[in-house]
Symmetry: none
Subunit: 195 residues, 4 copies
């Protein structure tokens, strides 16, 4: 019982990984079930054993990655050490890690959702809100400790997220900047926004 369930879960994850890859290379419309399956040496028919729909599969991809990122951020937010600014820097590092390492994957964050049904949309929006909320929390904490101040907190957060999401459009680890330098510079600018 437990065994077969684990197997199922592992397979689902494999498929998700493959789907994430393909979806983010081609966009979710051009990503075909065939290609997603092919990468795993399966036939597209088999995918339907694990996922109800293409829509469902894509949705799970989104959810999967986002959940992971949320978990990482939460850990830092709760157990991270140092000043609020230092914790913020760690969060920026996490976001940039996802955006750069899992490039295609994380890109999902900013894609539209004409494919999701209402139920799914709700869940996605919730996850996104959760994600944004983590940055809201750190900002609020900074304000409370007197480290930060903002004119309009929502917009400040949007600016920060936008700036970070844009990274994957241009940054290459092979380029002029190391990831560490990138994180540092970004944090620097972000702190300017919050001060």
């Amino acid at each position: 019982m437990k065994l077969s369930e684990k197997k199922m879960k592992r397979k689902k994850e494999q498929i998700l990984r493959s789907a994430i890859k393909v979806v983010n290379n081609k966009g979710y419309v051009k990503a075909t079930m065939e290609e997603i399956a092919a990468e795993l040496l399966m036939t597209k028919g088999s995918l339907y054993y694990y996922f109800k729909n293409k829509s469902d599969l894509i949705f799970q991809c989104h959810r999967f990655i986002l959940s992971d990122a949320v978990k990482d951020l939460e850990t830092v937010l709760k157990h991270g050490e140092g000043s609020t600014s230092e914790i913020l820097q760690q969060m920026v590092a996490i976001h940039i890690d996802y955006a750069v390492d899992e490039k295609d994957t994380f890109n999902l964050i900013m894609e539209p959702k004409n494919l999701f049904n209402n139920e799914q949309i709700d869940l996605v929006l919730n996850l996104r809100k959760q994600y944004e909320n983590l940055f809201d929390q750190i900002i609020k904490r900074g304000i409370e400790t007197g480290e930060f101040k903002t004119r309009d907190q929502t917009i400040a957060r949007m600016i920060i997220l936008g700036a970070m999401n844009w990274i994957q459009q241009w940054y290459s680890p092979a380029g002029r900047l190391s990831k560490e330098e990138l994180v540092e510079t970004y944090t620097d600018y972000i702190l300017k926004i919050l001060k």
Copy 2:
């Protein structure tokens, strides 16, 4: 000759306008030649008299909008009055206008380009560079006048562009903020980055 050429040009522009509308509504993958033609009371077959491809048509849309935006920015940059900060504010206003009004067509900036052939990609990348360059110019001007200073100018510009491009992911003119307020707040934060 000249006459028929002008007619052709006018027709092409009509088609582009229609295509832009549809693309902005449905995204370029779901935008069908049929719908683009229908809006003009034509049949899709006719489109092929003016454009080689759907790919070509979409590309021209992108180019059209981007050129427009570049022109607008250039005008402000050259003839705009006021301090560098004030000119920057006008540029932010222009960008936000395009991002909000021309949603998906403008959005193409940040989307992959599995649709464009190499020739087209080069042209698009050039346009993008031109676009970015205009923001580089205003930053440089600010530094020369002593109004701005940056730790890393490229990254500063990336942060600014990223922040602005993100707007279309969340901003609705029907929401809490008017476009004017949005522009003002954004400029405010952007200036913080540059000071």
Copy 3:
């Protein structure tokens, strides 16, 4: 204008004829768009130029045949000469003609309709009612003239229709009975029911 419309109509009818043939040979579920198209040396894609759906196409088939039959029956009912019994006999002849000559075609009458959408179902049920109603009319007329009498008119009509629809399950023109004999014998029995 008028010309192309006529062409369209003619083509639609051709497709309907083909569809009727295939549908009634294989049943509407096993009838494929491909096969329907193949018979006309078309590709299945083309069918969608004329019909929105498989469901739509099948529906039009049903409607097409049923309308024809209704028209024929109405003609006899209104302009037929002779006693009510004699007119009934002509109606029986028409029904049997459809059932035997257009065997597969007419069979549609008795097939379920899990395929039709609500709008279509309404129309189909209406047509069926119209068809049944024609037999109701002749029965009523017979009762008024004193030629017929019934215990339960609805059931009488159902028995008559059922008996006639069953013919295509067993009758072959190549068999023992000519169509004329068949009609005569059937009418004979039907009159027994109505007397």
Copy 4:
């Protein structure tokens, strides 16, 4: 041996019952192996231990129901009490019961058989003949006792069967007529045919 054979038989019957249910609800084309199995808390793969094919399974359903009906009719025919007319009425009741309760499975009688292979078709046709023959017998008996008379016995029987089979196209137990009234009225009319 004997024991496991009995187990096998019992299981087969369980499956048939489930299949019959599903087929009656969805029609045999839309009835899926999955659904048939699910009702029994099995997986569809297991069905293939008991039945070679879906075709085979469906065929056995048909056979099962038809055999049952034949048995019931035979019982009445041999041991039924009362006049020939009264026995006929009981047979009509049986037929109507099957037609109404076992809708689609029983309906198979009058559907084409693109699903059955030649071997199966022969068996089905034989069963049908057996079924029809039982009605022939009662008619013949009526003629011998002087209760009935017919112009053409085969056609008379066809009319009676057709009328009865049609019932499932329109009758609903929830409607105006109870099943008892239906039986009585039908018998009444059928007797008119036979007199």
